[in-house]
């Protein structure tokens, strides 16, 4: 799954470096504060472990073999942040020294495998294993599913990054400049192999290693490499910024017209809005009426607070602010529910 150079455009590579950078920065900051002097040797040794485990061949059902990435077991044992760093370092050495994966594409590979893979593996493992005992069989199942999910999410992200290249990057003759297959080809091509072989390899290796650790080194499954729960004090500054942004939300009302691609059926019927759409679409001709799909699906769901304008508010500005407060409240409530479902961070000791 390592993306070589040449398959993604420089702008896609740059965007994925930019997307990965905050995760790396947060991971380094969190882990340095938790591990202090242990930070350097732990990341180094686990990166080396990640590198070596990627070379192991694993027998799969059906007589085939596959390779695991080790990202799931790293995230489960070390926590997502340390796991993400260790796998990123392993990918960097693979790219720079062994030519496995591109240098320009390193950001993409890290984002898909190290970052998304670690976060998905850690979240899935926590939700399924909850607060069960370290020796519980449920943890083995959780590890297997976490590994499978992590590998397939990484593959899906890779497939999407490949699949958007032809539409976005082609020459004047329409020739794709990088990965040549559209989403309709890239996604099934990548996912078939990962849903059947690569994901299975990762899932089985993760489950097998966890089962071995349960018997031989259960203390490693309770390693304190996870960062302490932040608490509200540590997020006060973030909340402050959130409050400022909330008050600035009505600025959106200053813009005229609707965002490109967010049109309603009425926009297609209104001559003035049709002219705006055409101007924003580089002069492309619009269909005569409302596109059938937009007409059919526009009534599928009626939002309770349509257009961020509660019915009982006369002022648009206050309606926006109130909608933003309500939205933030919903997100906090959802996060608390998910956290409850995921159980506590520390497992119950035997």
């Amino acid at each position: 799954m390592h993306i070589p150079d040449g398959y993604l455009s420089p702008s896609t590579c740059a965007a994925l470096y930019a997307a990965s950078a905050p995760f790396w920065a947060v991971a380094v900051r969190k882990m340095r504060s938790v591990l202090t002097t242990r930070f350097v040797p732990m990341v180094s040794l686990f990166a080396a472990f990640s590198f070596v485990i990627m070379m192991f061949n694993v027998p799969l059902p059906g007589g085939t073999t596959g390779h695991a990435a080790g990202v799931a077991i790293a995230a489960i044992v070390l926590g997502p942040w340390l796991g993400m760093l260790a796998v990123s370092i392993a990918l960097a050495i693979q790219a720079l020294f062994f030519g496995d994966g591109g240098i320009l594409a390193f950001g993409a590979n890290s984002f898909n495998i190290a970052i998304a893979g670690s976060l998905v593996a850690s979240a899935v493992y926590r939700v399924i294993s909850r607060s069960t005992a370290i020796s519980s069989r449920r943890r083995v199942l959780a590890a297997g599913i976490a590994g499978y999910a992590a590998m397939n999410v990484a593959a899906l992200l890779t497939a999407v990054q490949f699949g958007i290249q032809p539409a976005l990057f082609h020459d004047a003759l329409g020739t794709p400049l990088y990965a040549p297959y559209p989403l309709g080809v890239a996604v099934p091509a990548m996912m078939i192999g990962h849903l059947t072989i690569a994901g299975l390899a990762e899932g089985l290796v993760t489950a097998a290693i966890l089962a071995w650790l349960q018997k031989s080194e259960p203390s490693l499954l309770a390693m304190e490499t996870r960062s302490p729960a932040p608490g509200w004090q540590l997020t006060r500054r973030a909340w402050g910024w959130m409050a400022i942004l909330l008050l600035l939300t009505p600025l959106g009302l200053l813009t005229a017209g609707s965002a490109w691609g967010s049109w309603s059926p009425d926009d297609f019927r209104d001559p003035a809005t049709r002219q705006e759409i055409e101007a924003g679409s580089l002069g492309a001709d619009l269909p005569a009426g409302v596109p059938a799909g937009i007409e059919r699906f526009s009534t599928l769901w009626t939002a309770p607070v349509s257009d961020y304008a509660p019915g009982f508010m006369r002022s648009e500005v206050f309606g926006y602010v109130l909608s933003a407060m309500f939205g933030i409240g919903l997100i906090i409530a959802s996060t608390m529910v998910l956290r409850r479902l995921a159980g506590t961070a520390e497992p119950v000791a035997d």
Binding site: G6, V28, I53, F56, P59, G63, T65, T175, W212, E217
Partner: protein
């Protein structure tokens, strides 16, 4: 034990990694022209040429970049030519498998018929783009790694403002990869020598899990030992690295030429 099981294939993978590292180190020991250029200049040149290969939208400049990379890999006396030819074989095979369907699937005017399928001009062009980009990127990377010791590459990264702690981690990881490779080889050989029947299927997965778990356990214990050794030598969490020697005018002239070539490739390929 009949046939090659997963133990043998895993061992092959580990041996290939060790072999690659050994070849690269041997190539670095030569006193060639490229070996004498400052690693920072080489790294900057590599990045410029990689970027040029990614930005160019025409076949001719991409072909030019690939030929330049091939010349740098093959021409200097004592270059590990067998290694780069093997690299080309693997890269072109992998790329061919990926790109072959695009020859027929990409819409465009037909230029040839093969086994009842129509190769389109657009398909051939996109295949050429991908092939030349991947081959030149892989070859430039090969040239860097066979003319620059890994420790010098890390020093160059530090000069390019990569944080010292990351450079130290890369350095330590590289060293301990070979420690763990040896550990993994020992585990695999021990497992292989203690089995009569090829352990595939569920038994094989248990063995693989045990090997992976044992390796993880060794990594964790080794990290604790390394940490104790670092603390006992005065490490307090701050990372300080020695500054690399300054690059000379000649080195930066080489980098300027590489950047110039990259710029020409991008301009021609716009």
């Amino acid at each position: 034990m009949a046939g090659r099981g997963f133990l043998e294939r895993s061992l092959d993978g580990l041996l290939r990694a060790s072999d690659h590292a050994l070849r690269a180190e041997r190539a670095n020991e030569r006193h060639g022209l490229l070996q004498r250029i400052d690693p920072r200049a080489k790294l900057v040149s590599l990045l410029a040429l990689l970027l040029a290969g990614a930005l160019s939208r025409e076949i001719i400049p991409l072909l030019g970049l690939f030929l330049l990379a091939a010349a740098l890999a093959l021409v200097p006396p004592g270059s590990p030519r067998a290694g780069v030819i093997r690299l080309w074989g693997i890269t072109s095979l992998f790329t061919a498998v990926i790109i072959a369907p695009a020859l027929f699937m990409t819409p465009g005017p037909t230029i040839a018929h093969v086994a009842g399928l129509e190769i389109t001009a657009t398909g051939a062009r996109t295949a050429a783009f991908l092939f030349l980009r991947t081959m030149s990127a892989a070859t430039f990377g090969w040239v860097l790694i066979t003319t620059t010791p890994w420790s010098s590459i890390l020093g160059a990264l530090r000069s390019l403002r990569v944080p010292a702690v990351i450079v130290l981690i890369l350095q330590m990881t590289y060293r301990y990869i070979f420690v763990l490779l040896q550990s993994a080889k020992d585990l695999l050989v021990a497992a292989r020598s203690r089995t009569l029947k090829k352990p595939d299927g569920p038994a094989g997965r248990r063995v693989a899990g045990g090997l992976g778990g044992a390796l993880l356990s060794r990594s964790i214990h080794l990290s604790r030992d390394v940490h104790s050794a670092m603390i006992s030598r005065g490490f307090q969490g701050d990372v300080r690295l020695l500054d690399a020697p300054h690059a000379g005018v000649k080195d930066w002239a080489v980098a300027a030429v590489a950047i110039g070539v990259a710029a020409v490739a991008v301009i021609i390929g716009r």
